[in-house]
Amino acid sequence: MSWIILKIIFISIIFGLSLFIAMYSTYAERKIAAFLQDRLGPNRAGPFGILQPLADGIKLFFKEEFIPLKADRWLFLMGPGFFMITALMTSAVIPFGPDITIDGKSFSLQATDINVGLLYIFGVVSLGVYGILIGGWASNNKFSLLGAIRAASQNISYELAMGLSIVALVMMSSSLSLKEIVDQQAGWHWNVFYQPLGFLIFIICAFAETNRAPFDLPECETELVGGYHTEFSSMKLGFYLFAEYINMFVSSAILATLFFGGYHFPGVSSMDPGIVKTALSVAVMFGKIFFFIFLFMWVRWTLPRFRYDQLMNLGWRVLIPLAVINILVTGAVILYKMM
């Protein structure tokens, strides 16, 4: 019983934390964008503009609620909600820290350690595009529809390469459970050193899957007004924008988990188990996550947007063959080691 309560508390913490981090990612995004462009960024709401996300949220709530006349009302309302839910669901299998012991019982800092965690993530992430697709289709607007179609085709193309890049990793770890993958990387055995090509393919695909620049074609303002969320206003738009940041947080967490040793860090993981070690491990995990979130933003404010044919070219003709080669090489090396 108490185990369930603990789990519920933990899940609520992760839930709140995802929202909180997403909220402050919007602030960080604006600050980092400003700093990279020699500006100061938001600095009026509170000290250093720290209350800016609150102000933005309040503003979004008070905006006019607009539903186009010819829109499919139900699907129009469902789109943002669906996108948000799928974004939040992914964090369930991410291990945020090593097991802790409460009253002699071990409790893992992971909502659930299902043995096909990786597959679960892929499943939920590919569901995520339905939120965009439904919203874009339901708005009954050509720009929204074009954005939605772009999102769908982009996700399909890059999911392939992403999946293939993970296959090589799974071949090495011979497990789909994220917790096991993390624990195999203790010390300096981070997967990024064994799978640099896989990591490169994965991170490029992660940018494409989260619809972040340079692959933000579904909302490409220069061509499609606002892309799939052209017709959305007030908090429905807020949901779309917000879910994008949650996706970014989750992607960063997955990147850290799969390739950068998750909560392991050489000095930290060799310490005696205890509350200090747990706290440090969690801090290390979040440090890695924040680094990747920063990377996402850094790339966004550096690179120009890809053209659509370039995007498809990169996905199908470059990344997928590369991923296949990566699998072959990994397989050969594993075979050689076994012999």
């Binding site: 980092i32 700093f35 990279l36 462009q37 020699d38 500006r39 100061l40 600095n43 850094w298 790339v299 404010w301 550096t302 690179l303």
Partner: protein, 170 residues
Amino acid sequence: MSVVRLTDRIKVMERKPMTFLERIYLPAIIKGMSITISHFFKKKATISYPEQKRPMSEVFRGLHILKRDDRGAERCTACGLCALACPAEAISMTAAERKRGEELLYREEKYAAVYEINMLRCIFCGLCEEACPKAAIFLQNDKLAPASFEREDFIYGKDRLVEPFLLKKT
């Protein structure tokens, strides 16, 4: 037909096919990202305006002021030369005669009872300042006409133009 070169600054674009390193983008991406990150730590160009002000040039032409002389009397004699010189016709005034006992208020026998400048018409050319024979009107280099919601607020009367009276220590 060969192109006649008029200057030596013409640069002919070379259209070579991209090399392998250029085609995989990554070196270019890393280069670009190192440039942006170097800007991350640079001094910011922003001036946080209300708290911080940009230093203005000594000869900047900002908001007008109607000066007083060293005894504190208004220098303007309502001759109208500034209004005549004004290319934007922004100045209007009504003259009045100085009464007995007002010598300390107005320097000349004639003075401006009403003196108005429409800051929306004014182009801050400074010709009024040049035209004035009494050195009465000047454009300050450290003040601007602030923004406002009403057009009426931009018609500056004597209340806002005349230099505040400062009691001098003697």
